[in-house]
C-alpha cells in the first residue's frame, strides 16, 4: 500500500528547506490561491512556471512528484476527454454525432494548467519540512489548537490503522477469506471495517487518557523553535511579490 510520505525529502538542503516554516506556509498558500484563479492561458502558464521553479529549487525528485500528482493528471485527462464533447458552443471539428467544442477544449486546458500549478506548489509547501514542524508552524499562525491536534493525531493514526488493517487482512487470508467474491467479499470488508473501528477507538481513548494523565493539555512543547532571519523575510517578500504580480495581471486581464 502507498504510504503518505510527503515529507520524505524534508532533509534535503535548499533555500526552501531552510525557510522558516511559518512564513513558508503562509506565503505559498497565498500564491496557491492566486494561481488557481488565473483567467487566461499566458497567466496560467506563468503561474505554472513559478510553481515549477519553486519545485526545482526544493530539489524534490521529479519521479516522486510524478507518482503523487497522478490523480490530478487523471482528473485533467478526464476533463480533456469529456469537456470538449459536452460543452457545446462553436464546433471545432465534427464527425457524425460527435462534435468537439472549442470552448470545452480551451476550458479543459486552462483548468489543467491551474490544477497542475496548484498541486506542484504543495511540494514546496508541505514537502520541505517534517510534517510535525509544519503543524507547529500552523499553530503559530493561529490555527486553533483543536484543529492542529486533530491533524497531528490523525496523521499518526493513519499508520496505526494501516498496520492494523494489514494484520487483519493476513488473518483473513489465513482463514481462507481472501478469495471470497461478490457479496461475501463486501460482507467481510464491512465487518473488517467495523472491527477496525472498535479496536482502534478503544486504543485511542486509552492513549489520550494516558497522555492527559502525564500532563498533556493540548499543546505540544518541543525544544526547537522558529527564528525569523532576514533571509526568511526576503524569500517571503519574493513569493508574495510574485503572487501580487500574477493577481494584478489577472484582474487587469
Amino acid at each position: 500500500m502507498h504510504l503518505p510520505e510527503i515529507d520524505k525529502y524534508a532533509h534535503l538542503d535548499s533555500p526552501l528547506q531552510r525557510w522558516d516554516a511559518r512564513v513558508k506556509v503562509a506565503c505559498i498558500a497565498a500564491l496557491m490561491v492566486t494561481v488557481v484563479l488565473m483567467p487566461t492561458y499566458p497567466l496560467a502558464l506563468a503561474g505554472l512556471a513559478v510553481a515549477a521553479g519553486m519545485l526545482a529549487i526544493s530539489r524534490i525528485p521529479f519521479s516522486f512528484v510524478l507518482v503523487h500528482v497522478r490523480w490530478v493528471l487523471l482528473f485533467c485527462l478526464f476533463l480533456a476527454v469529456i469537456l470538449p464533447l459536452t460543452a457545446g458552443g462553436e464546433r471545432l471539428w465534427q464527425a457524425g454525432p460527435i462534435a468537439v467544442s472549442r470552448r470545452g477544449l480551451s476550458t479543459a486546458g486552462l483548468i489543467s494548467l491551474r490544477a497542475v500549478a496548484a498541486v506542484l506548489l504543495v511540494f514546496p509547501m508541505m514537502g520541505t519540512a517534517r510534517f510535525h514542524v509544519t503543524l507547529k508552524a500552523m499553530r503559530r499562525l493561529r490555527v486553533p489548537s483543536a484543529a492542529v491536534q486533530i491533524l497531528a493525531f490523525s496523521y499518526r493514526y493513519i499508520f496505526v490503522l494501516l498496520d492494523e488493517m494489514e494484520r487483519m487482512l493476513s488473518a483473513a487470508r489465513a482463514r481462507g477469506h481472501g478469495r471470497a467474491h461478490g457479496l461475501r467479499k463486501l460482507r467481510s470488508l464491512g465487518s473488517m471495517l467495523g472491527m477496525l473501528l472498535v479496536r482502534s477507538l478503544e486504543r485511542t481513548t486509552h492513549v489520550y487518557h494516558a497522555m492527559a494523565a502525564r500532563g498533556y493539555r493540548g499543546e505540544v512543547k518541543t525544544l526547537d523553535d522558529f527564528r525569523l532571519r532576514p533571509a526568511d523575510a526576503v524569500k517571503g517578500a519574493l513569493v508574495i511579490a510574485a503572487a501580487a504580480l500574477l493577481a494584478a495581471a489577472g484582474v487587469l486581464a
Binding site: 490561491v33 463486501l186 464491512g190 471495517l193
Partner: protein, 202 residues
C-alpha cells in the same frame, strides 16, 4: 468525487470556504477536548478507507464511507470529513487545497443525513435489520453528495453540465456498493459493540 483546484470560480471557492470555516469552527469550538481522539481516529479511518479499492465491474473505485462516519460521529460528523480531506490534499495531492470548502460541504453535509436515517432506524428498533438502515445511510450519503456535486458544477459554469452528468451516472454503482459495505459494518457494530453507536444515538 473530488473537485480539483482550478475548476471553480472565485465566488464559489470563497463562499464555500467561509461556510466550511464557519461550520468547522463552530463544531471545534463546541466540541469537548475529550472528543478529540475520536474525531482524529475517524479522520484517519476516513483517510484509510479511501485507500481501499473495491472491484467495480471492469474498473475499481475507492470507498468513501461518509455514511459510516456520519453514523459513528453523529453531530461532529463534519469534522472527520473536513480533516480527512485536508490530509488527502496535503499528503496525497488528492482533491485540492483551494477547493477544500466545496469538497467538505458536498461530502460532509450528507453524513448528517446518514446519521438522521440511522437514528430513525434505531428509534424503531431496526424493524427488519440494521443492514437496511446501514444500507440506506451509506447509499443515501453518496447519492446526496453526487446531487450536491452536480448542483455545484452546473451552477459554476454551464459548459460543465455534461461533465456533471457523466460524474453523476458513473458513480451510481459506487453508491450502491457503499450502501452494502456500510450495511454490513452497521450489522457488525450493532452486534459486537453497540456501545460505539450508543453515544451518538441516545
Amino acid at each position: 468525487m473530488h473537485i480539483s483546484d482550478g475548476v471553480l470560480p472565485a465566488g464559489i471557492l470563497a463562499g464555500s470556504g467561509v461556510a466550511t470555516l464557519g461550520l468547522g469552527g463552530a463544531l471545534l469550538w463546541r466540541a469537548d477536548a475529550q472528543k478529540i481522539p475520536r474525531v482524529a481516529l475517524c479522520t484517519s479511518f476516513f483517510f484509510v478507507a479511501s485507500l481501499v479499492h473495491v472491484p467495480m465491474g471492469p474498473t475499481s473505485a475507492h470507498l468513501l464511507l461518509t455514511g459510516l462516519v456520519g453514523i459513528i460521529m453523529g453531530p461532529l460528523a463534519f469534522l472527520p470529513i473536513l480533516f480527512g480531506l485536508i490530509l488527502q490534499a496535503l499528503l496525497f495531492q488528492h482533491g485540492g487545497i483551494t477547493a477544500l470548502g466545496v469538497n467538505a460541504l458536498t461530502m460532509g453535509l450528507p453524513a448528517y443525513a446518514a446519521w438522521g436515517l440511522f437514528r430513525l432506524g434505531r428509534s424503531v428498533r431496526f424493524k427488519g435489520s440494521p443492514f437496511v438502515f446501514g444500507f440506506l445511510a451509506g447509499w443515501g450519503a453518496v447519492l446526496l453528495s453526487l446531487v450536491l456535486l452536480k448542483v455545484v458544477l452546473t451552477f459554476a459554469d454551464e459548459s460543465f453540465v455534461g461533465v456533471a452528468w457523466v460524474v453523476f451516472i458513473a458513480h451510481q454503482p459506487l453508491a450502491v456498493l457503499e450502501g452494502i459495505v456500510t450495511g454490513f459494518a452497521a450489522v457488525f457494530l450493532e452486534r459486537v459493540a453497540p456501545g460505539v453507536l450508543e453515544e451518538q444515538h441516545e
